[in-house]
Symmetry: C2
Subunit: 248 residues, 2 copies
């Protein structure tokens, strides 16, 4: 009969699509952003700790999404939020963004499009792809996710960006509308993520769940998400290990 | 400096994404559907000319889309239209679909998900993908296009189905919304298609255009779309030849 897809004990259904949180789970945003920040700082004669700046920039991410999740602000794509947050991060470091060339800031904002994959990502995704649909389930907008994939060589089958679902994780519609776009029951979709809160929300929306540990996503001093904190269907420390667990 | 993308003389812009009409241009729907119709006819003891039945089924496609394009009917996905048209095609041959098992009809409807690629498609797309974004620009809905891609091995970067644009070619919004989802100017998007009418509509929406000849799409007696009928930017008889022309 051939391949038997993994059946999630929590959903009771065979998994058809394995969708990945992307920033942190598949690509290493901190290394990628810090690299471009360092080059930017050198070019413009700014004295910046590139790692700390990357952390600061990222720290503004959830608050920016919160304004949209709460309905205070209408849906705005992540590229735009990143650009606004860049200005705010610069001001945090006492740098006036209005004194820097707009083109250079746009270019630096594109650092989120050029993130390196974790060492196991490309091979792991390629293996899982042979047996399942693979794609991102990310707060990124489609062109951002597409650029990330092209630059990192991620072999997605399909990209349903947040600009298509018009909402942001961890709101339930982010998971449910993605499943709907794929004509799948939520229980046939597995979210693979390095963040326990994301997995919790996915489970509450009826998805299958897999934790992929990324203990240095936030650098060597990371304190959160070092291990699975829920009874997720699967837990792995690499996407290639997840491929093993999925029989792919 | 590296690769210089093809610049369309008609749009004056470099092409960033090469998007393909899919049914007919990339995959051979007639052969694939007829194959499954023949198996279905044998299984259910029906006497059917499988090629003629495939043609009849496909002949109902444009009228079904017309009802939606004209606003008579609200947006309905292609999988549903195919299923309705299957019933109508059976009745055309004097077969009452209500006397056949629903599951078998659903399965036969899935023949549109399992179409063989033309011999040059996979290699041609893989080559173009190294230098450009590649994807479908089709009236198919996303899960249908995804299945077609998985089954035929089409290496798309991204799939923006008609369920995302909520409209059908050749209405301008089908082309324009697709470009918008990719954050591209319409002139940075090239439509590659075997159908002159599709290319005409794409050009009128400001896209770059490439004709890919498929002179046997409708079988050996095909009379239309045997050659480019407009001053399209490019014309090729295979997708691999288009890859050459695009420098990919």
């Amino acid at each position: 009969m051939g391949f038997q897809p993994y059946r999630s004990p929590s959903t009771g259904r065979p998994v058809r699509a394995v969708l990945f949180d992307t920033f942190g789970t598949v690509v290493d945003w901190r290394t990628g952003v810090a690299r471009d920040v360092a080059a930017f700082a050198t070019e413009h004669g700014q004295d910046l700790d590139a790692d700390a700046f990357a952390d600061q920039w990222r720290a503004l991410y959830q608050p920016a999404l919160d304004a949209i999740r709460s309905g205070q602000r209408s849906f705005t794509k992540l590229d735009t939020l990143h650009r606004e947050n860049l200005d705010e991060a610069l001001r945090h470091y006492g740098i006036n963004p209005d004194r820097l060339p707009g083109e250079s800031l746009e270019e630096l904002n594109k650092s989120w499009h050029r993130l390196p994959p974790w060492p196991d990502s490309v091979q792991g995704l390629a293996r899982i792809r042979r047996r399942y649909i693979v794609g991102p389930l990310s707060n990124g907008n489609t062109p951002l996710l597409l650029d990330v994939a092209k630059n990192a060589g991620l072999p997605w089958d399909v990209i349903v960006g947040s600009d298509m679902t018009r909402t942001y994780k961890p709101l339930p519609q982010a998971y449910l509308r993605t499943a709907e776009f794929l004509d799948l029951h939520p229980g046939e979709v597995m979210l693979a993520a390095a963040h326990n809160s994301d997995l919790l929300a996915a489970r509450e929306s009826g998805l299958a769940t897999a934790f992929v540990g990324r203990p240095t996503e936030y650098g060597p001093g990371q304190v959160a998400d070092l291990a699975p904190e829920g009874d997720w269907d699967l837990a792995a420390s690499r996407i290639t290990e997840l491929a093993d667990q999925l029989g792919a």
